[in-house]
Amino acid sequence: MDLGEINPVLLVASLMVAATPLLLAAIGELVVEKAGVLNLGVEGMMIVGAISGFAISVETGSPWLGFVAAAIGGAVLSLLFVLLTQVALANQVASGLALTLFGLGFSALLGQSYVGIKPPSMGDIHIPVISDIPVIGPILFQHDPILYVGIALTAAVWATLKYTRVGLILRAVGENHDAAHALGYKVIKIRIMAILFGGACAGLGGAYISLIRVPQWTEGMTAGVGWIALALVVFASWKPWRALLGAYLFGGITVLQLNLQAAGVAIPVEYLAMSPYIITILVLVILSADKSSAPASLGRTFHASH
């Protein structure tokens, strides 16, 4: 056992990479749930984003276009959810599950000819001077741009929900759609926008896995991240910064436990393997002692004639 073999700077840097797909998907779902919609199709939207982003960036040679395509891909799939739940008023849980199953199968079909191809690399941002600061530079200022997009998105969602009129309306729709409707807000329209936003974020998260974290295309490569994102939103009490904390904790401990294993630390591996789940849940449950609760209309279907 030799803890000295773990380079803390590389560790922190790679935990941020491991956390980003989770963060992107969770932030999107958080907005969706704040608007009172429960979309269990995160995993499906992520994997469709992963293949759309991968395919487009391979075809065009531009990772940026790939990420744009991933966001569009995720949003287009969520449009299916919109049709089912907001237009046809179908059950949200069933529709979300269907979306995941469909997304997994559809992405496998799309990805047939992309197995074993290396995507163009996005490269890391390198800002002169501050990127070269020892320790802080590699941790904070030497990442791919999408990682910063994730953090910026968290801040933007937090500020929008808390301080803006749009955020207030969105929350009103999520808390009591009948009251919001009575006030003249277009409940369905607002929810559709939220669902599309959630789809785009999930798509970005998926593409982050296929373009940066792995980078390759393999069927079913999201392997359950979407479900973890869903759980994270609940444990984060629908608060953006807590979602970020949760994602970093989860990603961090995942990478840390692998590091500890490789360094031969004498903790039973079973405990290490389960630690990301346990510690993340524990921390977020303790934080949620302030009795913040779910949006009151979460998962309920809205029909204007009521």
Partner: protein, 357 residues
Amino acid sequence: MKFTTLLASAAMALGLASGAMAQDKTKVGFVYVGPVGDGGWTYEHNKGRLAVEEHFGDKVETVFVESVPEGPDAERVMTQMALEGADLIFTTSFGYMDPTINVAKKFPDVKFEHATGYKTADNVSVYSARFYEGRAVQGHIAGKMTKSNIIGYIGSYPIPEVIRGINSAYIHAKKVNPDVEFKIVWAYTWFDPAKEADAATVLIEQGADVILQHTDSTAPQAAAQEAGNVVTFGQASDMSEYAPFPRVSSIIDNWAPYYIARTQAVMDGSWATVNTWDGIAQGMVEIGEISDAVPADVKEEALAMKAAMAAGEYHPFTGPLKKQDGSDWLADGEVADDGTLAGMNFYVEGLEGEIPQ
């Protein structure tokens, strides 16, 4: 009890019905742990399935279900297959062992074949390949090619099959490079590309310049390619997309001949419970092309070792060998017996760390 009776009678009714009308077609089912496009383990099993279809043409019908979790859900999938009239079901992951036995009890007329396990029954056979022979070749090349003398190993679950691979690779790496050190990480998954890539990255960050994997996807290959100067080996499948570098060779599982033979046995009515464990000699384990990134002399030695194993002249576990705790295992020239290998739950001398229990 009632439920099983119900299931059994339903199966019988179905069996009678389908037996009457589909006498000519043999239905073969496959249960996969990952997606067929994983590029590794499941991909090869699926190639075996396609070979069965090609070989028998109209006489056979195959069905498969992919990404089936190892646990109660597997039992549901197998039951469903049996109810739909499958005559022969291949369950292709270690974790399906107990579910296979349970379902087999309910369907005495359906034949089951479980890969890499050790529990048999009247209608359950087991089959596996001697992957450790391929690991010996990998270990030899790895020991010769590492410059940092640190070899990273991504394990899936601490089961005998994986531990055999680690031991075999280590023994042969150590033989050609006494300074070599193995760093082992358990991913606790067969298929999770992001996690497999993370594990590979961690090992590379901690100095490994050769990565061996016992997980199913090609993600560690991609991570090694990204890192640059790291050697990898294809696992279960050739993974030639990553050749000639980082992937310098591979272990290929060739299930097709076995699947065809067993399907034939069901058709002939000659199917009986067997315990098959074939290696390089029978062609169930193949060594993928050794690329030019490997020095010519090393390649030659590796091929010589392969030939010796194929001819039965060399066994990867030949004494003198000691266990990790220093106790004697095999005397000079003694060869490990299959029983010990099948249940292997210890590291050989020199490996660090403990096997998770």
